[in-house]
Symmetry: C2
Subunit: 335 residues, 2 copies
């Protein structure tokens, strides 16, 4: 792997100065004769621009980072799938960070922005601490946050409306005659966990149903955790007729357990998931799920970031993506 040719090599071969080479390569006005010489030399030597040197001088890396908790989570996957093409067409590369939902790792990513290896960052923190906020506002490069941040935070922000999402789901269950609606949530100290908890209480109230702590279980956002939570709930109260799950993975875990307990879905227990991941359409029975617009949020975040890179002066923007209820077999008696 011998060292490739540099602008200097080309200049020698073409018999011109490195400045001329650079100008030709960048399409600046040049005498046709010179241009030809340079292009010829470049072709013959198989020249490729050194991106690092270029970045150093131009202060642009044409890279953007996306930091999420876990690539395994289909929600983030859906985001990446949208972010990638948007960035690609704008001429940016995508650098991926998986923080495993560890706050210290997220802080680390934020700090590493100072290394200037990317031009900007899209981040979807699962917990938002004051440290985060401070670092985000003072970050050395533009940042877009996917998720809820306190109002007034000076940062571009893309939000899902999980409150409305939970209302849609609970409303749907209520309409279909369900009255003892269980709730399987993720950790309350996470942003989505807290939001969904508050939303669930609200939604019950709107339907005129009482909030019964015995029907609520808190676990984690994984399938196995969902199964465990469902088991705990069923052991305590065999009479639930619906399960609202904070997550499709939790819902899949719940489906497994319901099957073990001989409960028919949806006849005995209706189940609603959240995020409308690919798994929802593939499960048995297919899973009614609240789409929080992961794909749209990803795309919006990428576009916000590009807009800010264009114009650093624009006011921070908040985009809220509306939820949609995708009804499938797990809540439809008739199926």
């Amino acid at each position: 792997m011998p060292d490739g040719p540099t602008i200097t090599t080309i200049a020698e071969h073409a018999g011109v100065s490195i400045a001329s080479v650079s100008r030709v390569l960048n399409g600046l006005p040049t005498r046709p004769e010179t241009e030809r010489k340079v292009m010829r030399a470049a072709d013959e030597l198989g020249y490729v621009r050194n991106a690092v040197a270029r970045s150093l001088k131009s202060r642009r890396t044409h890279q953007i980072a996306f930091a999420m908790a876990d690539i395994g989570n289909p929600v983030y996957l859906a985001m990446v799938r949208q972010i990638q093409p948007v960035l690609k067409t704008a001429g940016y590369r995508l650098v991926l960070h998986s923080t495993d939902a560890v706050v210290a790792d997220e802080i680390d990513v934020l700090r590493s922005l100072g290394e200037r290896y990317v031009d900007g960052l899209i981040m979807s923190p699962i917990r938002v601490t004051d440290d985060h906020l401070k670092m985000i506002e003072n970050a050395r490069a533009p940042v877009v946050i996917i998720g809820l941040v306190p109002d007034g935070t000076a940062v571009d922000n893309v939000r899902a409306d999980s409150r409305e999402g939970v209302r849609l789901a609970v409303g749907h269950l209520h309409e279909r005659g369900r009255r003892r609606i269980g709730f399987l949530n993720g950790p309350l100290d996470t942003v989505p966990g807290a939001a969904r908890d508050a939303a669930f209480r609200e939604a019950l109230e709107e339907c005129g149903l009482p909030y019964d702590p015995a029907l609520v279980e808190v676990g984690d956002f994984y399938r196995e955790a969902g199964a465990q939570a469902a088991r705990r709930l069923l052991e305590r109260d065999g009479d639930v007729d619906a399960l609202m799950c904070a997550n499709d993975l939790i819902a899949l875990g719940a489906l497994d357990v319901l099957r073990q307990y001989g409960k028919r879905v949806p006849q005995d227990v209706a189940v609603v998931g959240m995020d409308d991941t690919d798994l929802a359409a593939a499960s048995w029975p297919t899973l009614t799920s609240v789409s929080l617009g992961s794909a749209e949020r990803g795309r919006a975040a990428a576009q916000l970031l590009l807009a800010r890179l264009e114009d650093g002066g624009r006011a921070p923007t908040v985009v809220t993506v509306p939820p949609r209820l995708i009804v499938r077999e797990s809540t439809l008696e008739t199926s």
Copy 2:
């Protein structure tokens, strides 16, 4: 977003030369007094090393690229999930490229290696042309290929054994008494498509079954394409008692169609997928699938690349990951 402090700023504040600053920052022997001054200035100013300048001088970017056809494909996802932590612990960042299975895009990624924005590349090309091979062997940075390349190609290579995988699956179907085994494949001009086609013929022969072109359909590796292929097959021949699918997505599409045609799975038709993605365990019925070890292949590729970065002189290595048959409901009558 004011410009951050550089090594020069720190040198001024600490009253030393930039060389000393650099030495302290890199842990080279320094008088304690000097070290203290530098560290203090660095802390006060919130200094962060500029990764770009560093890379230019050191010729290391600590970035590695992974190029795949489509992040949406759970197989690649499984790879990314393994690659990411391996690289992270070794101090490398992950740059993602999605080529949409367009050969020109893959060539582009290969060429862009000359820009030296990464130290190495892991690539999983879906079609391997001579152009690819030539560029891969002459690449300006170490490359690891996930997938089949011609024997003797001078490149680190991680392979699945889809031949053996198909044999496992067909053998399993045969053992369970299936005799009219259909085959839903992806494009024959792709590496996996061609390999699976050859393997299917071989496997039938081993079982003493005839190869019947009427039982074979070629489509694409997507769910919808799988559904269409299944439909074509069923319209032509209502008597298949098993479907071997080149892919879990194809298998899911086939399950949809079988349901529409009133065929029970597995009683009337047994179905086997391939890749053992998350979807296989979530589907209805759960899907028997051949695991080609996507996760292991990802991890192996990352490790091979790291090994080569350590020692550029080592001989090209080929790692073959053995397949495993994961039996689930879609082939088990008793369920």
